[in-house]
């Protein structure tokens, strides 16, 4: 990682230096930059003009970030859900599964991004494998908690009326575990959005790459970081909304 970025003027490393300066100097902007912008930029400050001008460069990483998050949480959920159903049916598998997911969760994330590279190479795959590993524990633990919290009486009544184990699971236990499952999904999604900012260590791109490139340029860090926070907030609200739609019975219970 190059050091001199700190003192030099921020640039987009993806485009060549010369072409960038050439393209972005229409006379009006030069004037503006002379008055406020140039100063601000050379001070690594928070420069709205620069942000407006350079916003394009954040679009692709932003979508990369969404991609990493959605794919990782999606795969993580599929795996954790299957594991939870297994542990629910075969109680003895709970401890080993819980243990393994917990160990995965404790591996420092940066270490994981590097440790995986010999096997999965640099790129999205490594990033996704690591991110998936991190979601498993949260999702598994929450799905299990949700299933365990379903009242014994409700299950007893369901079985007593002739629901098969499978019907009981899909019609009673899972719907009633939904609050915990969605809570787990929210935590996992937020965590993944945060962790995905480190995915560039594995060559996975995302908003983290931009942050790292110009770590001391306030405008850049605020925009890239802000986008990550915004993303987390939007996903959180989406899942919350889903929760309200999916669980009308909970609204009345609380009302």
């Amino acid at each position: 990682m190059p050091g001199p970025v700190r003192s030099s003027r921020p640039r987009n490393r993806r485009s060549s230096r010369t072409s960038e300066t050439d393209v972005t100097t229409p006379s009006a902007q030069v004037e503006l930059r002379e008055r406020t912008g140039e100063d601000c930029i050379s001070n690594n400050g928070f420069c709205p003009e620069w942000i407006v001008e350079n916003f394009d460069r954040y679009v692709d990483p932003f979508f990369e970030h969404i991609f990493l998050t959605v794919v990782s949480v999606g795969i993580g959920f599929a795996i954790a859900f299957s594991l939870a159903l297994l542990a629910h049916r075969l109680r003895w598998t709970f401890r080993p599964i819980s243990g393994v997911t917990q160990v995965l969760y404790t591996v420092p994330s940066i270490a994981a991004f590097f440790l995986l590279q010999p096997y999965t190479g640099r790129g999205n795959l490594t990033a996704i494998v690591a991110l998936v590993a991190y979601t498993l524990f949260i999702l598994f633990a929450n799905i299990m908690t949700g299933l365990d919290n379903v009242s014994r009486d409700v299950k007893d009544a369901g079985r007593g009326m002739g629901l098969t184990d499978r019907q009981l699971l899909w019609r009673v236990e899972l719907p009633l575990a939904l609050p915990e499952i969605l809570a787990g999904l929210r935590i996992a999604t937020t965590t993944t959005i945060g962790l995905a900012t480190l995915a560039f260590f594995a060559g996975g791109g995302g908003l983290g790459a931009l942050i790292e490139q110009q770590l001391f340029f306030k405008s850049n860090v605020v925009v890239a970081g802000g986008l990550a926070v915004l993303l987390a907030a939007v996903f959180d609200l989406l899942i919350l909304g889903l929760q309200r739609i999916a669980m009308p019975w909970r609204r009345v219970a609380l009302a």
């Binding site: 009242s151 009486d153 409700v154 299950k155 007893d156 009544a157 369901g158 079985r159 007593g160 009326m161 002739g162 629901l163 098969t164 019907q167 009673v172 719907p175 009633l176 669980m247 009308p248 019975w249 009345v252 219970a253």
Partner: protein, 404 residues
């Protein structure tokens, strides 16, 4: 499962015969069996109450019927068919199931809850919806107000009613109820019990009803099975017989020292032989009254109005002239109704510190006199001279079960 007998047909049955045939249940690692050699028969349309102290296996016995628990030995027959011949889920769909905590699905509306089993049996939507409304009315709930609510929006009593409606959804011939009114306050419990008895009068299902409360057992049961620890059947009898002839010391203790009073709760005033009473109208000739007095059980004339309603007991002075003088009388209170429960009537006598009271019929006319003596005679007639005494029972008990 689809080939099992009764699939899709269960809703057409009215009531089923139920038989426990030498059923036992041992849990591995436990010395004492949960159920030991239980044999009893419940006739179609009867309420059989399983009662006993906690740990006596009454709930276990009930859960054996729909295979929520599998027996270690013996068999259970419904209409002569072993429960083992049917798959558990198919069997359960044709047996109503109501438990103390109700266990309504919190995420499903009242209508969806009640429609659970009909849906499992593949009824079409219209039929389910019609049935839901019918059942809600049956358990005294307003369909339009209740059907779309969630369980959290209902009171405890309403939930219990929905639970009963859900158990009756496909009109099963057999109903299992595990302390269905146990978690309800006493006033509402009484109401729900009465409602269920009224309902049972219409639907006439075979019911296995579990409770730990002997009063509830006596009230609800056509027959009562008293179980003791280790799942042994101590006695299986009709309520009156249980109270009159407890089989052993255990049953006697379990039904309580007030079992004579409990028996009175089973009877109404109209069920027993009342005293005849000389009824007299104002202005009647005293000689006529004297003649009546000779023929009746009580020698105090009762003054009545034109319709025969009691006005008061006449004193000797009222008869001193040629005609009855209505002014010399004491109050007729308390007045007992023919439909009163004997225990309440007796309580009424005690409350007025009196030995006897006039009994009136539906029109308010005097039908006889209830006295302490009449009640005592009734109790005695129900338990004739050979009734065993406490010491005899104790001797019998210790001979049978030296360890308990």
């Amino acid at each position: 499962m689809a080939d099992a007998p009764g699939e899709g047909q269960g809703e057409e049955h009215v009531a089923a015969d139920l038989e426990f045939r030498g059923v036992s249940k041992h849990y591995p690692g436990q010395d004492e069996p949960a159920i030991e050699d239980l044999s009893l028969t419940v006739s179609a349309g009867e309420i059989c109450v399983l009662v006993g102290p906690s740990g006596c296996g009454k709930t276990t016995a009930m859960r054996l019927v729909n295979r929520m628990i599998e027996p270690s030995g013996g068999d259970i027959l419904i209409d002569g068919v072993s429960v083992k011949d049917r798959s558990p889920s198919e069997l359960r769909r044709h047996i109503g199931y109501a438990i103390q905590q109700v266990g309504l699905f919190p995420h499903a509306s009242v209508a969806e809850n009640i429609g659970t089993v009909p849906r499992l049996l593949g009824w079409d939507k219209q039929r389910i919806s019609k049935r839901v409304d019918e059942l809600l009315e049956l358990v005294s709930l307003d369909p339009s107000q209740t059907r779309d609510r969630f369980p959290a929006q209902l009171s405890g009593g309403q939930r219990q009613r929905v639970g009963v409606a859900r158990a009756l959804a496909v009109d099963p011939p057999l109903l299992l109820m595990d302390e269905p009114f146990g978690a309800i306050d006493p006033i509402n419990r009484e109401r729900l019990q009465n409602e269920f008895l009224r309902l049972q009068g219409q639907i006439r299902k075979t019911v296995v009803f579990v409770t730990h409360d002997i009063d509830e057992a006596i009230k609800m049961g056509d027959r009562i099975a008293v179980l003791k620890k280790g799942g042994k059947l101590a006695q299986y009898a009709e309520p009156a017989e249980l109270l009159t002839y407890p089989a052993d010391k255990f049953v006697e203790d379990f039904v309580g020292s007030d079992r004579a009073l409990k028996r009175l709760a089973l009877q109404r005033v109209r069920d027993i032989d009342l005293w005849t009473v000389p009824t007299v109208r104002a202005g009647e000739s005293t000689s006529e009254v004297q003649r009546k007095l000779a023929d009746t059980d009580i020698d105090i004339p009762l003054l009545v109005d034109e319709r025969g309603a009691p006005l008061g007991w006449l004193s000797a002075r009222a008869l001193s002239g040629e005609r009855v003088q209505p002014d010399f009388r004491s109050d007729a209170a308390p007045v007992v109704d023919l439909d009163d429960v004997l225990r309440d009537a007796l309580s009424n006598l005690l409350a007025h510190a009196t030995q006897y009271a006039p009994v009136v019929d539906d029109q308010g006319a005097v039908a006889g006199v209830l006295s302490m003596e009449v009640v005592a005679r009734f109790l005695k007639s129900a338990s004739p001279g050979d009734a065993r005494t406490g010491p005899e029972l104790a001797a019998e008990e210790s001979a049978l079960e030296p360890h308990e």
